[in-house]
């Protein structure tokens, strides 16, 4: 069975819904099969890690074990999920003691449906954890993406924002300091990409937003201000936490800057979908808090 | 103090490893480990030869016959031999030798050839520790049941 397994994570079912919608739409347009991981649970996430590393590792391991039963590469579009799953695979490989505790418990308590009924769930390290940027650039290929573009987004200036967790501390598929995978995909979509956007890997403060909003707003303000100063029409993102953060706190951020301003924060998959001629609704564009119409005006798929 | 009273009970077993180190690389690595005050397992007894190519297979058989639990041969990395290619001769000989010994039932962890340059004291430390751990886990060297003591075979029988 070709294609990939797909781990949405909690955010893509909530605030990150447009990411899921646009990713699935683009995958379909490129004829890439994505199958949602059956009965997945929360990845363990950053917040959990702060309280209890072992429990967080256990949560991630259950997902990896379910994925191992299928065997195909696992795509995790949320940067935080991608990192937690990747780090967990690393921890289990490096720490045999930890691995035996967690995997033993897993086998004793959890099951996976099998032809003849439920079978014990067991973990093995066989499944690579992938990010959509990695898959689109390294498996599908920028040329294939470019070939699917029917309505290039000419004249749209985009600041590519990668956030932190796909380049730090691990950076298996892109340059740690100057990542380019999103740049190349957006170029293929016909965008003018701001290659010199210096904050493309700066933290947006998402994990602080719900807890210490004042602090997070400062970071958001800096990222937005600089992108606008460099002429960006849109900021492209690859993570639901970054997206929500940069979008939802805009008015506060601009207030703090003493300026007026709005800038759409779109998933790179939404931009790719637009360039492929997919409809706004299919890409979840109607869910944006910031009106996208002004920057997308005059483009034909505006239906 | 008298000789060590190594009792060969499973609990207190400490292996004795005979190490043949070439004068130019591995012996110097052991010197460097010393000047760097690295600490490693005290199980090996180092015998200096000019080149790993000097290690006669009979030395290895003899060591096992006299009670060694493991034998370590240390030479220069391929291409770095002080005598151009003595280490490659050692490798060829070692490959055959280890096959002979494993055929006899000797665990392969007991006989090892390592390339350790004069600068690689850390590697020397790691090999010393690793080998001591592995052989400690295997227990004392005993001839496999039915095997004839591998006392030095006649020269014609061992690979040149």
């Amino acid at each position: 069975m070709s294609g990939y397994q797909y781990y949405p994570g909690c955010s893509l079912k909530g605030t990150g819904k447009p990411y899921e919608e646009s990713l699935l739409a683009v995958a379909e347009a490129l004829d890439i099969r994505l199958d949602e991981l059956p009965d997945w649970n929360c990845c363990g996430a950053t917040a959990y890690m702060a309280v209890d590393e072992l429990q967080a590792t256990t949560l991630a391991t259950r997902n990896l074990a379910i994925a191992a039963a299928d065997g195909r590469d696992l795509i995790a579009p949320c940067n935080a999920c991608w990192l937690v799953l990747s780090k967990t695979a690393g921890h289990l490989a490096d720490d045999p003691g930890l691995c035996s505790v967690v995997c033993g418990a897993l086998q004793a308590t959890c099951t996976i449906p099998n032809g003849d009924g439920p079978a014990p769930l067991s973990y093995d390290a066989s499944v690579p954890i992938r990010h959509p940027l990695d898959v689109l650039v390294n498996d599908v290929g920028v040329e294939t993406v470019a070939a699917a573009v029917t309505e290039p987004l000419e004249g749209l200036t985009v600041a590519p924002y990668y956030g932190c967790q796909i380049v730090r501390p691990l950076a298996p598929f892109d340059d740690q300091y100057d990542p380019v995978t999103m740049d190349r995909l957006l170029e293929a979509a016909g965008c003018d990409v701001l290659g010199d956007y210096p904050f493309k890997t700066r933290c947006c403060g998402a994990s602080q937003m719900m807890t210490m909003p004042d602090v997070g707003v400062d970071l958001v303000a800096m990222l937005l201000e600089d992108a606008i100063a460099r002429g960006a029409d849109v900021i492209a993102v690859a993570c639901p936490l970054c997206q929500f953060n940069l979008e939802a706190y805009q008015s506060k951020a601009f207030k703090r800057l003493g300026k007026k301003g709005r800038i759409p924060i779109l998933y790179f998959t939404q931009l790719l979908g637009l360039a492929m001629g997919l409809s706004h609704r299919a890409l979840g564009l109607q869910r944006s808090f910031v009106d996208v119409k002004p920057v997308l005006a005059g483009r034909s798929s505006d239906a | 103090m008298s000789d060590t009273d190594t009792t060969e009970t499973a609990a207190a077993f400490e292996p004795t490893i005979v190490a043949f180190f070439c004068n130019w690389c591995t012996y110097l690595a052991a010197d460097l480990a010393g000047t760097s005050r690295m600490k490693y397992a005290p199980n090996a007894r180092i015998i200096r030869v000019m080149c790993s190519g000097r290690v006669d297979p009979q030395f290895v058989f003899d060591a096992f016959a006299k009670g060694a639990d493991g034998v370590l041969i240390g030479g220069c990395h391929p291409g770095d031999c002080h005598y151009q290619e003595g280490n490659t001769k050692a490798l060829r000989r070692f490959t055959l030798l280890r096959r002979m010994l494993t055929d006899l039932g000797v665990e392969e962890e007991r006989i090892r050839l390592e390339w350790i340059s004069a600068a690689e004291a850390d590697r020397l430390r790691d090999v010393m520790n690793e080998m001591a751990d592995q052989i400690r886990a295997l227990g004392p060297f005993r001839l496999p049941d039915g095997a004839v003591a591998p006392a030095a075979p006649r020269r014609e029988e061992v690979p040149a």
Binding site: Y177, D178, D196, P198, F199, E225, A229, R230 | M1, D3, T4, T6, E14, T16, V18, W24, L28, A30, D31, A33, G34, T35, R37, M38, K39, Y40, P42, R45, I46, I47, R48, V49, M50, C51, G53, R54, V55, D56, P57, Q58, F59, D62, A63, K66, G67, A68, G79, D80, H82, Y83, Q84, G86, K89, A90, R93, A118, A119, R155, E156, A160
Partner: protein
């Protein structure tokens, strides 16, 4: 198997080495254990066996107790085997009736457990006592030394070493890869802390090298292969074509003007690409030899054929240009070799967070050396890539140094050259200058005073490693440096027009190949390893190969010159002796046991073995004593002095007798 000749009377000496051995090995117990070994008539422990009284003790005991064999358990034989052999010889018995046991480097220094270390010492001494019974009387081998020396690398280290040797009357080959000697020092503007001009002090020495009757310079040349041993090294040197006949060119440079290229198009290596040169060029004005060179990659003669050949025309009857030149080889014989192959500056683009290669405002320190130099690409005025003059400059220390992600070591020279560049840039631009340092390291004569002087000049010193360098928004051309000012405890963002990266020193990219060619070792940082960090700082583990300058580790010009002088002196001491004594560890054939099977012939890497009248014969002069043939001989007919089969079997038995 041979038996020892009777039962020789053996003396055992256990050294405390102060507390170096005695704190981990119970020396009294070891002494007592040795006393009970067969053949041992005397066993002593002593504070420092290598001291004069320690050696006297051995000599005295040989006379008093009629010792016939001596075993000393102390440090590594690399340090004191010669010392004790000397004492044994002076005591009146053959110096090779001696065996040394390493209970310091291989025992007390590497173990914590006293019982285990003591047991190990006992085993090793028992092995030596058993072995020494079989020792035969031997004489060291004497081989003559070729009085010529090769110096590899024509930077300041190689230049100084070559001149020192040549002035002492020795014939020197100076091999340099580039078209001119001079190395990195020729690229510098001023030298710290005295600020004297690098060219002013270097070029007279370069000219002396050129003029010296005892020095043969080989530029555009590399050592391809080295064979032989100390005193008799055969070195194969590869000469790359210059396409200009060195002896015919007078350095008039008219050909450069005449070149069909009106302007240079190729990045000028000497100016690190900050200017362009033509296909025919001279590396820099003071180049030695003062001879032009043609770059075949750039010259159209090599690509398409040039009908005009204007360079050839203008050269006229001197006829120095030769497009037909090819790679040639030379083989020379020398007694000693000095390696002075220098360093390479850390490649700044390896740390993308500092923006080198991406942001125009970012320069490396070496580039700035060229910018401030009057003969550099801007004739000494500080003009940035965008044509402007900076009003604020940030200098970032430790780029590629003190960073486990690149190089853990401190490059030693960057603090001082950064201070120098701060001074020169301040003098030329009056810009605001910010130095970002981690620790300011100025341990040298006049260094701290220079630091004070630069502080007085108003340079800002910020203690903190720069975390980010990014372009200011709004196309100002400026970049922002972000760092914690650790002394103030605040994060600062400082916009500057120019960034200078104080790149560290790394081994040459081909240091690993060079190491292999000369059969020496590299340490963890990749620099060549000296024989002993304190007592043999310019020697290597290969006799007759010496080190000078930054190829051994980062160092400044004064230290480099001092080391080059030391290497020259060591080489002189070696070759002036006229001959060298070698270990008598050669192999020999016991004729009656040899079956003439020829197995050994193929084993010998030195072709020292031949078959004469159906029996193997080993040429003692060619034999280097590896012993590979001994191990290979199927009939046990080959023996090796100092490493006899019996001696090694006895050692094996000795270390295992406790089991």
């Amino acid at each position: 198997m041979r038996e020892p000749n009777g039962t020789p009377r053996i003396g055992v000496y256990v050294c405390h080495c102060g507390t170096n051995i005695a704190s981990t090995v119970d020396v009294a117990a070891v002494r007592d254990a040795a006393e009970s070994l067969p053949g041992v008539v005397l066993s002593r422990d002593y504070k420092y066996m290598c001291s004069d009284p320690g050696q006297e003790l051995i000599k005295h005991d040989i006379a008093e107790f009629g010792l016939e064999r001596v075993v000393v358990a102390s440090c590594s034989p690399c340090l004191h085997e010669e010392t004790f052999r000397g004492a044994v010889g002076e005591g009146g018995i053959n110096p090779y009736f001696f065996q040394m046991v390493n209970i310091r480097e291989h025992d007390s220094w590497v173990h914590r457990d006293i019982a285990a270390a003591t047991a190990k010492a006992n085993d090793l001494i028992r092995a030596a006592v058993r072995r020494v019974r079989f020792h035969e009387p031997l004489e060291p081998r004497r081989v003559p030394i070729d009085p010529r020396v090769m110096v590899v690398g024509g930077g300041i280290a190689g230049i100084h070493a070559a001149l020192t040797l040549a002035n002492a009357g020795k014939q020197v080959y100076l091999v340099e890869r580039e078209p001119s000697i001079g190395g990195h020092m020729a690229m510098f503007d001023k030298t710290f802390p005295t600020l004297d001009c690098a060219a002013c002090i270097l070029t007279p020495k370069m000219t002396q090298v050129r003029a010296h009757p005892n020095i043969q310079i080989m530029t555009m040349s590399e050592v391809e292969e080295v064979s032989g041993f100390v005193g008799d090294y055969r070195v194969r040197v590869k000469h790359h074509p210059r396409f200009v006949i060195e002896d015919a060119c007078v350095g008039c440079l008219e050909c450069i003007d005449a070149c069909v290229f009106r302007n240079g198009k190729t990045p000028d290596e000497f100016n690190l690409g900050l200017s362009k040169r033509k296909p025919i060029y001279i590396p820099f004005p003071q180049a030695v030899p003062q001879v032009v060179v043609i770059d075949p990659e750039a010259c159209i003669e090599f690509r398409a054929g040039c009908r005009k050949k204007t360079c050839v025309e203008v050269c006229a009857e001197r006829n120095a240009i030769d497009f037909q030149q090819e790679v040639t080889y030379d083989e020379v014989t020398v007694g000693a070799i000095i390696l002075a192959t220098g360093f390479q500056a850390f490649e700044a683009s390896r740390l993308p967070q500092y923006g080198y290669g991406r942001l125009d405002a970012v320069y490396t320190a070496l580039e700035v050396e060229r910018l401030v130099n009057a003969s550099g690409p801007t004739e000494g005025s500080i003009v940035l890539r965008d044509g402007s003059t900076p009003t604020s400059i940030g200098i970032i220390h430790c780029i590629g140094s003190r960073d486990k992600n690149t190089n853990e070591y401190c490059s030693r020279v960057c603090c001082m050259y950064s201070l120098k560049l701060a001074h020169l840039l301040k003098e030329k631009t009056d810009a605001e200058i910010y130095e970002f340092y981690i620790d300011m390291r100025t341990p040298g004569k006049g260094f701290e005073e220079f630091y004070n002087r630069v502080e007085e000049e108003g340079v800002h010193f910020i203690r903190g490693k720069v975390a980010d360098v990014y372009p200011e928004a709004g196309n100002t051309g400026r970049v922002v440096l972000q760092a914690e000012d650790t002394l103030a405890g605040m994060v600062r963002k400082i916009p500057v027009d120019m960034v200078v990266l104080a790149t560290g020193l790394e081994p040459q990219p081909d240091a690993e190949d060079v190491r292999r060619t000369f059969n020496i070792t590299c340490g963890s940082g990749g620099f060549f390893t000296e024989r002993h960090p304190k007592l043999a700082p310019v020697s290597t583990f290969t006799d007759g190969v010496f080190l000078a300058g930054a190829c051994q580790g980062p160092k400044d010009i004064p230290d480099t010159v001092a080391q080059a002088g030391a290497a020259a002196a060591e080489a002189l001491a070696l070759i002036d002796a006229g001959h060298i004594e070698l270990e008598p560890n050669t192999a020999f054939v016991v004729e009656e046991r040899c079956s003439g099977c020829r197995t050994c012939v193929g084993m010998c890497p030195f072709s020292a073995i031949s078959i004469v009248d159906g029996k193997a014969v080993i040429n003692e002069v060619l034999c280097k004593g590896c012993g590979t043939c001994v191990a290979a001989c199927p009939s046990g007919a080959i023996r090796q002095n100092l490493f006899e089969d019996e001696e090694i079997f006895e050692e094996i038995l000795g270390v295992l007798t406790h089991v």
